[in-house]
């Protein structure tokens, strides 16, 4: 069986001065995706939160190539995130998809401004 092709979605969370943990974000995304597409659809999407920077409020989600539009649609419908530490209080947020790329290197260069230190081919 061939390796499943994947895509990396860079997103940004727009909220008031509230910091969310990686666990809270992935739980919110997973719950929303399951509500929209069910358990079977979620299993096919291959969703995982690879990286989240709390200072920039930017993160990278990995999903399968065929489910990029579904993941984007479910992210857009997210309106609140639960913070368990604050007694399960809901905080309103806007999830904004900054971009989609096929490799992590492209994501790092474009959206996290990590310089490309690879030796140039002659």
């Amino acid at each position: 069986m061939k390796r499943e092709k994947q895509r990396y979605i860079t997103f940004e969370i727009i909220s008031d001065d509230v910091e969310f943990s990686k666990g809270e974000i992935i739980n919110a995304i997973w719950k929303q995706f399951t509500d929209l597409f069910g358990e079977y659809g979620t299993s096919k999407a291959g969703l995982w939160l690879i990286h989240y920077d709390p200072t920039l409020k930017r993160g990278v989600l990995r999903c399968s190539l065929n489910s990029v539009n579904k993941v984007r649609a479910s992210i857009v419908t997210l309106r609140v995130i639960n913070k368990r530490a604050d007694g399960n209080h809901e905080f309103p947020i806007i999830f904004y998809v900054v971009g989609v790329a096929a490799t992590i290197l492209t994501i790092k260069r474009k959206y996290f401004h990590v310089p490309d230190n690879r030796p140039k081919k002659k």
């Binding site: 727009i14 539009n69 419908t77 998809v97």
Partner: protein, 237 residues
Amino acid sequence: MKSYCDLHIHHRVFQRSEDPKKIILLLEKFKYSNIAIVKEKQNLNALFEQIESIPSSINFYKRLNLTATRINDIKELLKKMRPYFDLIAVKSHEKSVFNWAIQDSRVDLLTLGGLKSNNSLSYESAKLLRQFNKPIEVTIRSLLLKSGSARSRVLRTLEKSINNIVRSRCPFIISSDAHDFYELRAPKDMISLLTLVDFPPTDINKGIIEHPLMCIKRVEARADRNVLSNDIEIVSR
């Protein structure tokens, strides 16, 4: 550079916020270039004075939503309100009023229901929209706020309407219908949400760029004294 438009943001978004600059910065981040603010109870003039004092690359327009169940009511409202607003939209569940509004040149666009509506756009109305080159507006607010079986009903109704829009090839506009700061969405995110209802990906971008710009050009032509009607402009007097 693409000029994205959101022609349906409520006055409440600015009213509830302490600082309108925060909202304008967010809209610029989302790369919007044209925004229409819908009047509610308060006058829009005070808000527009505040917005004009903030330097931004976004053009703001005044919009009014009219709802009526009888044709005579809509006629009276249009006569009173037309000179004061850039854009006037009509929303009605009565087919006769809806079809009449499509044919009236004072109406700029028609809105496809709202949060409570379960009516879909019929093929006859869609063909009439194409004939008069008037756009129909599709909003994403009901998809954001509803959940469970209510959302699945909205998706079903929306799919039927979009089927008719695509078959008739009438112009359409996609907008957020935001009543709150946290209901604002980026243009590409709105497009990705509507892919759930099988909107063809080749045409969907027109709803956020081309067709709203067509509406705005009409608004500007109406304000320009040198433009007499569609495509007729006085070059020199």
